[in-house]
């Protein structure tokens, strides 16, 4: 039981890291209507910038500089490329963000090499926060959770309690009107893109020591992020949080389940046909697949399931375009 509680807590820290990443992505989508394929690369760039800065300014310096650096890069891209494509529709924007993501990864390869860099947990954050039945819960994971929650709180504060935030929200749903009222909607769009990038950079800065900092981390996170924001519902921070929690916890807790569908069916009295090497069929193999083995696939099973049943995601209402 305690092991399960600890697992759930580990899953929570993983979910909150995912949420930090996904929040930026969903913000960018809600304002610009474009799926930012470069988001994984922003995450990677954040990790590398944090590591590089930490060589000169220490871990905390890196933590501060990384989101700023990524925000600068994101702003440059938005102003230079994305703005021109606003009138062209969503497909060119998709192509542009993908291309930019690729360029960032190659630039990282050139600057820091193709292998991983030893971005490690700083000494002040090492060790265990507490121990449950012999298993440590690391201080660093608690730090990741705290950072993600702090970022969420800050974002909520900014969006709901400041004038600028209200303008951003207005621009989200009523861009022409907001523009007519005299606000610079284009600057708002650039700003949101930069903030989204900064959030991804922050996620990279805290995620790098937890995971591995290498050029491939961009691609590794990419698909999972889309699953998170779609499940939760595009364009809503609440949805990103819910999606991240679902994906993280399901993936983590499923590892603890050692049974498969065939085992469950057996308990009900029906013996499933034998799998490989006795037979070549796909269906028997699937039935005998342990849930623990299938755990990393569950986010995508969830994705397909949610989209099939509730295509707008879990937290949003159906918009007119999506009824048919």
């Amino acid at each position: 039981m305690e092991a399960l509680a600890l697992s759930a807590l580990n899953g929570l820290s993983y979910s909150l890291l995912l949420f930090l990443l996904a929040s930026g992505l969903t913000l960018i989508f809600s304002l610009l209507g474009v799926l930012n394929f470069a988001h994984g690369s922003f995450y990677m760039l954040g990790a590398y910038l944090a590591w590089q800065s930490s060589q000169w300014l220490g871990f905390w310096g890196g933590l501060l500089l990384a989101p700023l650096g990524v925000a600068v890069v994101a702003t440059g891209f938005e102003v230079g490329v994305l703005r021109r494509l606003r009138s062209q529709g969503h497909l060119p924007e998709l192509l542009a963000t993908f291309a930019f993501g690729v360029v960032l990864v190659e630039a990282a390869r050139l600057l820091w090499g193709s292998g991983s860099v030893p971005y490690a947990i700083p000494a002040s954050l090492q060790g265990a926060l507490f121990t449950l039945s012999g298993v440590d819960f690391p201080v660093y994971r608690g730090f990741v959770m705290a950072t993600a929650l702090a970022a969420l709180a800050l974002a909520w504060l900014l969006l709901w309690r400041t004038r600028a935030g209200l303008i951003v929200q207005a621009a989200l749903t009523h861009a022409p009107m907001t523009s007519a009222l005299g606000h610079d909607v284009r600057a708002v769009q650039t700003g949101v893109f930069a903030v989204g990038g900064a959030l991804a950079g922050l996620a990279g800065a805290v995620g790098g020591p937890l995971l591995v900092t290498e050029p491939d981390m961009a691609a590794q996170m990419g698909a999972l992020l889309f699953a998170v924001i779609i499940i939760g519902g595009l364009g809503s921070l609440r949805g990103a949080l819910l999606g991240a929690l679902l994906v993280g916890e399901v993936q983590t807790l499923a590892v603890a389940v050692n049974g498969s569908l065939a085992d469950g069916l057996q308990r009900l009295g029906w013996n499933a046909p034998a799998a490989w090497p006795a037979s070549d069929g796909i269906l028997p193999s699937l039935l005998h697949l342990d849930l623990a083995r299938a755990a990393p696939l569950l986010p995508y099973v969830l994705l397909v399931g949610v989209l099939a049943l509730r295509p707008q995601g879990l937290t949003r209402a159906l918009s007119r375009d999506e009824t048919l």
Partner: protein, 414 residues
Amino acid sequence: MNAAVPAPARGRAALFSLLVALPLALPLSSAGFSLLSQLASAWLLLLSVGLLVTRAGLLSFGQAMYAGLAAYAAAHAMNTIAACGWPLPFALVPVYGGMFAVAVALVLGPISVRRGGLSFAMITLGLGLLVALAAPMLQGFFGGEGGVSTDRTAGPVWLGLDFLSQRQVYGVSAAYVLLGAALMRGLDGTRLDLLARAVRDNPLRVAVSGATPRRVRLQLVLVSAFLAGLSGALQTLRLEQVSAGSLGLPQSSMALLFSLAAGSGTAWGALLGAGLMVGSESVLASVSQAWMLYVGLGFLAIVIWAPQGLSGVLRDLAQGLRARRNPDLLWGLAALLLCSALAIIGASSLVELLYAVRQQLLVGSTLRLYGVPLQIDSADAWVGAALLAATGAGLCALVWRALAPQLRAGGARE
């Protein structure tokens, strides 16, 4: 858009068929034919993607999944035919692959097509990822991580085709390319085609008019799955090996992105896209470490100067040239091409030098670029490349400034 085929379109169709059939008469090497067969498979895949994008406004991240599953089915079919000695020619195996993909689409399609737009894209993303991730874990059909291997020469010999040479493989691939092109031509102007465009533009109105948007989308998905299946099975014929890597997300994304970059869902657009895709993934990758960077930069350039796809821009340009027959314009364009070639040579040389220095994969310190041996540790090469790039770019800017009013005056869209 009417059913009668106008003369220029017939001429283009004849030209396309000629282009496809021509290499069979040329004395190309085995590697050359292998590359052309690869191009043919890529063409079919991009056609299947482009079909969905242009005619139904659907972005599919799952086409490589259909192609990959058909590839596995084809490999199993070829192995079974060889083992049991059935008199079925391997040349028809791609059709089986296509039908297999259609069968898969009948199962997975209905889930994906309930809504259009982003929802469709994300479901195909999820399904494609699921299949790609589960494949190495399921030993039976997928043969584990090593995949399934087959022997294309082990089948019965029909019409003299024993598939020993790559030329024969290309011949069969070319036949399927023409089949695909005919299929596209047959689709033009049919009820399905018109309904699909209507669903893309306004599904509510279509539903009110009596047709079901879902069913229309599904039918189009079935057609595109067939084309993707042909592509995958042809790939098996060429490589005699299928593995889980072929049905992954990177393949689907690349197909989608090259299709968007090339633009248009026609045979010529797919040819341009396939040429770019195979060119960068196979040809460019074999000569340069920096090919991914070039692909990214190339996409950026295309998206800035030709946001709706290259083929649209090229077509407008061709029309503009034909319409005005201005010799100055032609010289100007030639000059532009020359300058941009210089700039590209210079810039790519810089990139290659950078990669060579960074990755240290050269024996000695000589890098052969465009036939010229360069010393990477001497400043001459770097300065030379930088100067070339700068000069080329500068000249390009000048020529463009002189040329742009002429182009704009003619009313041509850039």
